[in-house]
């Protein structure tokens, strides 16, 4: 009896600190969603694409309403000026001014790179809240860029999703991921991103710079730099219509 009590005590003494040490993964995801998602937002960004051969920059303006609607207009370089992209629910259209055509991006084309970057159209399609897509479990703690982070392992509970698994290094204080790894169902690491220049904007922590690296692609990665961002501003409905692509 004494022996059994001793074993139970040892077991409980191991479990209780572990439970106390690691917070609920779902709770952290909710906090991340609060920081990264908003009713709507308008932002001006630059994508610096470090290719295998050269580096080039693309500038764009994006209007987003919730997680279902998004409209992007490319402003630079000249060749891409006027190219527009509209996302409604799970559909994506691109307008090219040089061809004066609107093409729907579907099927395997969604896996194509956006403007030669390390981001795919599929990545752009999946900006819904993490809590709507993944279960989360805190599996450890590490330091990233001098900041204490929870290591969270995410597994998807929705079937059709680009990344079946994710691993996040979440800033314990600001509840913002500082590093992300995206995995295929097979466990292959597909993409990695480093989030930095985290700023407090309208009461939420937001990364102004994200370095994406497609692990299956040669090159030095793609930097996404948020130059200006406004949260919860009024965006007219006509922006999110196919008619606005040709305007």
């Amino acid at each position: 009896m004494k022996k059994l009590t001793f074993i139970l005590l040892i077991a409980i003494s191991g479990i209780i600190p572990a439970l106390a040490q690691y917070p609920d993964g779902k709770e952290i995801l909710q906090k991340i969603d609060f920081n990264l998602s908003s009713e709507n937002r308008i932002f001006l960004s630059s994508m610096v694409i470090h290719g295998r051969r050269s580096t080039h920059t693309v500038k764009m303006k994006t209007w987003t309403a919730g997680t279902k609607k998004s409209f992007t207009e490319y402003l630079f370089p000249v060749r891409e000026q006027g190219t527009k992209m509209l996302k409604l629910e799970n559909q994506l259209w691109i307008y090219s001014p040089s061809a004066d055509r609107i093409i729907q991006i579907a099927g395997h084309m969604l896996r194509q790179s956006v403007m030669g970057s390390d981001l795919s159209y599929e990545d752009l399609m999946e900006d819904s809240r993490l809590t709507e897509r993944y279960n989360a479990e805190v599996t450890g703690e590490e330091t990233v860029e001098g900041r204490a982070c929870w290591v969270i392992t995410l597994s998807a509970f929705v079937p059709e999703i680009a990344y079946q698994g994710m691993k996040l290094w979440v800033d314990r204080e600001r509840n913002i991921p500082l590093r992300e790894e995206m995995y295929a169902k097979s466990g292959t690491l597909l993409k990695r991103s480093e989030l930095s220049d985290v700023e407090l904007i309208n009461g939420r922590w937001y990364p102004k710079k994200i370095m994406f690296k497609d692990m299956l692609k040669e090159g030095m990665g793609t930097e996404l730099i948020i130059e200006e961002i406004q949260f919860n501003v009024d965006i007219p409905d006509y922006i999110f219509s196919k008619a606005s692509l040709k305007k």
């Binding site: 090219s96 055509r101 403007m115 030669g116």
Partner: protein
């Protein structure tokens, strides 16, 4: 003596007809087979050389590693200058810049929305500059099924089946959706000038052919090309010369440290065509060996049968004092005459058939219908200098070998036994 033997052969048909027919048909088969195989292999090599690998091929080192995927982000830059320099350096060759690409061909309805679309593979070739022979090189004029060749910018050809599937005819507009050299999604409008049918599934499934400058514009590849192909002006591949040119080029322009430096490879180094090039070199040796061995066996057998039939005759000749060596030599002389006339007859018949196959060819389009590799539809025989002797010499040699083997029995006859045999 020869006249005497010749008369004997003509008058005793049992002695000459079978060996003559065996030799003639063997030589004929070898001549036709050699011309046909040389033609088929040569057609396949040339077809692939013209469409994809050239006699020599210049790419960047990085592109060459994944050449099958045509990675245009790793294309050669400054091709105008490079092509000018190498054309002056190796005037025996013609160089052609090419861009191979993949994408989606999209056809709009009256509202500008997608009506139909399909995956395409494309060739960007020089169709519009003065004196270009690229269209002829790819056999495009004779493959044209409707419309005409592109005559201005923004015009392109589609394979006939593909155009039918998309529901467009010459004069209609379609959009190419592809990736630029920098990986950006690009859209470019073309007017369909005509449709082509190469008779090769790999090419007819979904091909778009446009002028290289249009493709450069579409894929943002100014002064760049995925590959530069080199062709010998005389039209046929010279393995040794190609190797020398490639060595000279690589020593001068290529650097192992720079993955974007150009590198020249030869047709024989091509992963898929190399085997065929090697095989075509060995073909003559294999043919001669197989022919001589099989014909010798057949003629040896025929000689043995003849020897048995003429057993009494040889016995009589030996009995009346003819030397064994003389009997053997007359047999050899007879077989030489049979071999000579058989080979001439076989060569003449074989050449007539080979010439017909060379001029008219055989349409094997039905067999190629589901082939995924690039092969021509019509195969033609090709008569080379070797075709003249590849069957003729073995025809002579094998009859001699056959007779030599069969005639050994003469030396085993015992003179003392001859009279007993004759008495019996």
């Amino acid at each position: 003596m020869i006249r005497f033997l010749f008369k004997g052969l003509l008058r005793d048909k049992h002695r000459s007809l079978i060996p003559f027919l065996v030799t003639a048909s063997g030589v004929m088969l070898t001549v036709v087979f050699h011309a046909w195989m040389t033609g088929v292999i040569g057609n396949s090599i040339e077809f692939n050389a013209r469409f994809s690998s050239g006699h020599v091929r210049i790419m960047t080192r990085a592109y060459a590693e994944n050449a099958a995927q045509s990675p245009n982000d790793l294309a050669i830059l400054g091709t105008d200058t490079l092509t000018g320099i190498i054309a002056a350096q190796w005037p025996e060759m013609e160089f052609a810049e090419r861009i191979y690409f993949a994408g989606i061909v999209d056809v709009a309805d009256e509202y500008g929305e997608t009506r139909s679309q399909g995956p395409a593979m494309g060739f960007g070739i020089d169709l519009l500059s003065d004196g270009t022979v690229e269209a002829q090189r790819l056999n495009i004029p004779s493959s044209l099924k409707s419309g005409r060749l592109p005559a201005a910018a923004h015009e392109a050809l589609l394979s006939k089946d593909f155009a039918d599937k998309l529901g467009i005819t010459p004069g209609d507009t379609f959009t190419l959706v592809s990736s630029s050299m920098y990986g950006e999604l690009t859209m470019y409008n073309f007017i369909l000038s005509g449709t082509v049918d190469f008779g090769t599934t790999a090419l007819d499934r979904g091909t778009i052919i446009a002028d290289i400058n249009d493709v450069r514009e579409a894929l943002d590849m100014h002064d760049a090309a995925g590959e530069i192909l080199g062709f010998f002006r005389e039209g046929t591949y010279d393995r040794e010369r190609a190797r020398i040119i490639a060595d000279q080029f690589n020593a001068r322009y290529s650097s192992e440290e720079d993955e974007f430096s150009p590198v020249m490879t030869t047709l024989a180094q091509d992963k898929t065509m190399g085997f065929l090039v090697d095989y075509s070199g060995k073909l003559q040796g294999i043919l001669v060996l197989v022919f001589i061995m099989s014909m010798s066996l057949i003629l040896w057998n025929a000689g043995l049968l003849g020897g048995l039939r003429r057993y009494g005759e040889f016995g009589m000749r030996l009995a009346i004092g003819e030397e064994k060596g003389h009997v053997y030599r007359t047999m050899m002389m007879e077989s030489f005459l049979i071999g000579l006339f058989g080979s001439v007859a076989g060569l003449a018949t074989g050449m007539v058939i080979a010439l017909y196959l060379q001029n008219h060819g055989v349409d094997l389009g039905i067999m190629m219908k589901n082939a995924s590799i690039m092969m021509p539809r019509v195969f033609r025989a090709h008569i080379t200098p070797a075709t003249w002797y590849i069957g003729f010499i073995p025809g002579l040699v094998s009859t001699q070998i056959g007779t030599m083997l069969a005639g050994i029995g003469i030396y085993k006859r015992q003179t003392a036994q001859l009279f007993k045999e004759l008495e019996a």
